[in-house]
């Protein structure tokens, strides 16, 4: 584990140095990343130029959900976004290079081409979250304050598990890397809207099967003082950390199984 963290730190530091050699390019791609993610919030603003509420939620409340989802996803994407390149490495045989190095493959893969530009998404999400916190009416308690950082970190953990599980799936599926977009980008898009918008079965699915709703829906509805989705009790709002740990453990097992089953293309 420590070995993996050290590897990750060294490789990502190397990529950051390499990125910083071309500062103009770095500035442009980060700005691009920022603008790109800003477009879907602009779409939400446009919707609210025509309506006052969506699924019973007003703009500041949706901004709150949006900010939480974007920051949690952005952190996971910053740390592990490179994992989606695994399929390509399996296909062209360059994964073998990573296997012969005396360092954990997961850490090498995650830090490969570490993209600091992905901070653009985190920044955009943070700005929306700050706007939400400034406008939304929350009855703050110490417990709710504590829940804020816990929620963001656990959310990042849950999305990290999705990235790892997605990469593990690519050992089997190779070309089908796009499937994971449905859960990563699709997941964060889903969580940007209130749970009241979606069909109950869908909310159940992302609570009990793929527990994405622990990223923000369950804890955030508690903080906002809204009814918790599916009529669940209040305490589920605090389950995000154990859920995140369990997801990461399962994803780790999937990764191991995937790596064991790997057969090189031999080229």
């Amino acid at each position: 584990m420590l070995d993996g963290i050290r590897t990750y730190r060294m490789i990502s530091a190397m990529w950051i140095r390499s990125t910083m050699t071309y500062r103009a390019s770095f500035a442009m791609t980060t700005l691009g990343n920022f603008t790109a993610t800003a477009f879907d919030f602009v779409a939400i603003l446009l919707m609210f130029s025509r309506v006052d509420a969506l699924g019973g939620y007003a703009l500041p409340e949706i901004a709150f959900l949006y900010g939480l989802s974007s920051v949690a996803f952005g952190l996971a994407d910053l740390g592990l976004g490179s994992m989606e390149r695994l399929g390509r490495r399996v296909r062209d045989g360059t994964l073998d290079t990573l296997l012969v190095r005396p360092a954990p493959v997961l850490a090498q893969m995650a830090a490969d081409q570490f993209g600091l530009r992905r901070l653009g998404r985190v920044t955009q999400g943070t700005m929306v979250l700050v706007y939400a916190l400034a406008t939304v009416d929350i009855d703050w308690t110490p417990l709710k304050l504590l829940l804020m950082p816990v929620m963001i970190l656990s959310g990042a953990g849950i999305f990290a598990a999705v990235f790892i599980a997605g990469a593990a799936f690519q050992f089997v599926a190779k070309d089908a890397s796009e499937v994971q977009n449905a859960f990563t980008y699709g997941g964060t898009t889903l969580l940007q809207y209130p749970p009241t918008v979606f069909a109950t079965e869908l909310v159940r699915g992302v609570t009990f099967v793929l527990p994405l709703s622990f990223v923000n829906w369950l804890p955030a509805t508690y903080v906002l003082g809204r009814p918790i989705p599916l009529g669940l009790p209040d305490w589920v709002a605090f389950l995000s950390p154990p859920v995140a740990v369990a997801c990461c453990a399962l994803a780790g097992l999937a990764w191991r199984a995937g790596l064991r089953s790997y057969r090189s293309t031999g080229s």
């Binding site: 442009m28 791609t29 691009g32 130029s49 309506v51 599926a173 449905a182 898009t189 918008v197 069909a199």
Partner: protein, 266 residues
């Protein structure tokens, strides 16, 4: 007539090439369907608040979602057609080989891209649409003529789409690394083609601007024809105007690029 056969062969090649990756195709259909579902629910909430928003009723809005997800790959509104490869060839210098060929650069790539988009229309367009129609009430026309009119609009949209992406690719002659431009055009393309929100919902002046831009010829135009909202002939004229304009500018830029091209060696 020989050159016609040549471009047909290039087009068929493009079609078959994209037909090779079956797993990727299934993965893509799955992803489009998931995004379609998310959009349907948000649009339902939106139209619940404001029925007749943008002149659509709820069934039309839901239909719009599935038209968008189905045409997403075909029209490559966010990029992802042959232009990525063309850019790579310009960057590596392989473009010199293309310029040697006794064929026109623009027509060659247009043929390849039309082959690609025809395949995507059949393979990635039909399944999400059928799934959407099974799961939700769609506002689909009952007469064959409207479907035919829709197909014509899709074909014109393919031309406009290529026109935009060809210009993006040619920028690599000057920038060498076109990733930044491609990224910007991708998100502008999604937003301005109405992938996130139909363009007729955009308010005021912003709405008027986006509806006049070439991207509105991609998704909004065929969708309106299918939903019976737009006059097909007027829509065709708008699309054809942009197609001709973009392809002409592409030809002009291509001329400028090949006049001054210094091929990357190595």
């Amino acid at each position: 007539m020989d050159s016609g056969r040549l471009y047909l062969a290039v087009g068929v090649g493009g079609f078959r090439r994209y037909a090779t990756y079956r797993a990727a195709m299934v993965a893509g259909i799955f992803t489009n369907t998931v995004f379609g579902l998310i959009l349907v629910y948000t649009y339902t909430a939106l139209w619940d608040e404001r029925p007749q928003l943008g002149g659509y009723d709820l069934a039309q809005a839901v239909t719009y979602v599935w038209v968008g997800q189905s045409l997403f790959k075909t029209l490559a509104n966010g990029g992802g057609g042959v232009e990525g490869e063309l850019m790579e060839r310009i960057r590596t210098g392989d473009i010199a080989v293309d310029l040697y060929r006794p064929a026109d650069l623009q027509l060659w790539w247009l043929a390849a891209d039309l082959g690609r988009s025809s395949f995507e229309l059949l393979a990635r367009g039909v399944p999400p649409f059928v799934l959407g129609a099974l799961l939700f009430d769609l506002a689909l026309p009952t007469d064959a003529l409207t479907w035919l009119a829709f197909l014509v609009a899709v074909m014109l949209a393919m031309l406009v789409s290529f026109g935009i992406r060809y210009l993006v690719a040619l920028s690599a002659f000057w920038l060498l690394d076109g990733t930044g431009v491609a990224q910007m055009v991708m998100f502008v393309g999604w937003f301005c083609s109405g992938m996130i929100l139909p363009l007729n919902v955009f308010p005021g002046l912003l709405g008027e601007i986006v509806r006049a831009l070439p991207w509105s010829a991609l998704l909004q135009a065929p969708a309106d024809v299918l939903l019976g909202e737009g006059d097909p002939l007027g829509t065709y004229a708008f699309q054809a105007m942009w197609a001709v304009l973009l392809l002409a500018v592409g030809r002009l830029v291509q001329g400028m690029a090949t006049q001054r091209v210094v091929v990357q060696g190595g």
